[in-house]
Amino acid sequence: MIRIENISKRYRYNGHESAMILSDINLTIPEGQFVCLLGPSGCGKTTLLNLVAGFIKPSQGRILFNDARVTGPGPERGVVFQDATLFPWLTVRQNVEFGLRQRGLNNNNRTKIATEYLHLVGMALHANAYPHTLSGGMRQRIAIARVLALEPQALLMDEPFSSLDINSREHLQDELLRVWDAHRRTLLYVTHSVEEAVYLADRVIIMGPAPKSICGDMILPLKRPRKHFSDEFRSVIASLRLSLDALPCCIKPSEKKSGRI
């Protein structure tokens, strides 16, 4: 369970406080729920995800994960980034083994578990390849395997399929649902696509610019498996569109990548 309590976030540049990104957010995400954070770019979806991941610290408030306060990143909260960010100096298998190695597993067990998860995402044949020889979709599959191998209690995904072509994206969405369905872990998923959110999520949280960071919170009344073109699917999309249309289409970019750890 993820509890987000009174969270606010401002970024700081050269000592100056910049505008508020997130303002006074309160959310509770129960165990096993698939939650999409939906909203225009720049509204702080990624910032909220990074806070839950522990990559950044809130300016105010706190985040509890299974009742323990989040103070930094950790393998119980696996993150899939927008780019696969596989380590280019490691083979596919070694990339998946990275987290297992940190846990101190021996060689045999590492290889066994890594192979199992590579199978799960259909990449077992490429175990000995280096990431640069693979396509974007394949890399993202491996990034998912790498995180699943950690056996995290929650998955945090930041627009993981947004840089893929439509075909791979839909394939990977289906595979993600299959994998999620097998274990029902809590999943927090950032997207700016209404279709994607409606196809994947149990619950959609609509985010807007601060100070009104949360503009909507909706449990989707759709059964699984979902069909892209069913009437109810379309009507849910239409109603979410309405809420989104009320928001400004984009907000000035605020999250700057810094070169330092």
Binding site: A53, G78, V79, D83, W89, H132, G259
Partner: protein, 261 residues
């Protein structure tokens, strides 16, 4: 295959031709015997055959130069990589020392001569000191910028998978900055080689290629000096072609991945 040999051969032929033309012109116009490629080649052959050059064989000179270069460069490489990693890791250390690095970088290699002689006296150690000083800065600067440019998401991914400080350093920072380390070493090696030859001319080492060139000049044995120049070029080429090029191609191909993504 045939084409590529031809492509490599053409610049060599042009170079020899130009050399021949210049040699003939200088000899004709100024009346001093300028060694032609042929004369140099013949001389080189007899030096290889064991003819003495300033009291030692050519092999001894080459060996001594290479030894000095290797020792000086090794010191610079270890210190430079160590510094770069440490300063990339700790902001405090970087801020405290980076300006010094910049000042060092502005000092031409040969300007270390008085310092070297004052500290170490004339001879071997002074030469090695000069090589180490000139090779150190490019290695240190390159490694530092390599560590700093390392993608933040790599670090985040590693922490998320449970990497501790030691693993972060050894398994992410170090391999991640390998391309920068290599290019720093390459520049350092070149700088060291150039300053070595020059230092041997002045510091009075008694052996070495630089020493031989300057001695040959005093005895008006210009052909031997030219033969030594040829050896210097050949050694440089061997290091480029057979050590650094293959290493860089291997790493760049792999590491290129997330750079442009």
């Amino acid at each position: 295959m045939g084409r590529s040999i031809l492509k490599n051969l053409i610049p060599v032929l042009i170079f020899i031709l130009l050399w021949q033309v210049i040699a003939l012109m200088v000899t004709a116009v100024k009346g001093v015997p300028f060694p032609t490629p042929w004369q140099t080649g013949v001389k080189f052959g007899s030096l290889l055959g064991g003819q003495f050059l300033s009291d030692h064989t050519l092999y001894r000179h080459i060996l001594d130069s290479l030894t000095r270069w290797f020792i000086g460069f090794s010191i610079a490489a270890i210190a430079g990589i160590g510094y770069g990693l440490a300063a990339g890791w700790s902001r405090l250390f970087e801020d405290a020392t980076y300006k010094i690095l910049h000042i060092l970088q502005l000092i031409p290699g040969l300007a270390w001569i008085p310092v070297a002689i004052l500290i170490f006296g004339i001879g071997e150690t002074a030469t090695i000191f000069m090589i180490a000083m000139t090779a150190f800065t490019p290695v240190a600067i390159n490694v530092l910028s390599g560590v700093k440019r390392l993608d933040t998401t790599f670090v985040r991914a590693a922490l998320m998978m449970g990497a501790g400080r030691k693993a972060l350093f050894l398994q992410v920072l170090l391999p991640g900055s390998l391309p920068a380390i290599l290019s720093g070493l390459r520049i350092g090696l070149g700088n060291g080689w150039r300053v070595l030859v020059a230092a041997e001319m002045i510091v009075g080492t008694g052996t070495g290629l630089g020493y031989s060139i300057i001695q040959a000049r005093w005895t008006l044995d210009y052909t031997s000096a030219f033969a030594c120049l040829g050896v210097i070029c050949a050694i440089g080429l061997v290091f480029e072609q057979f050590i650094f090029n293959p290493l860089e191609q291997r790493t760049i191909a792999r590491w290129a991945l997330d750079r442009d993504a």
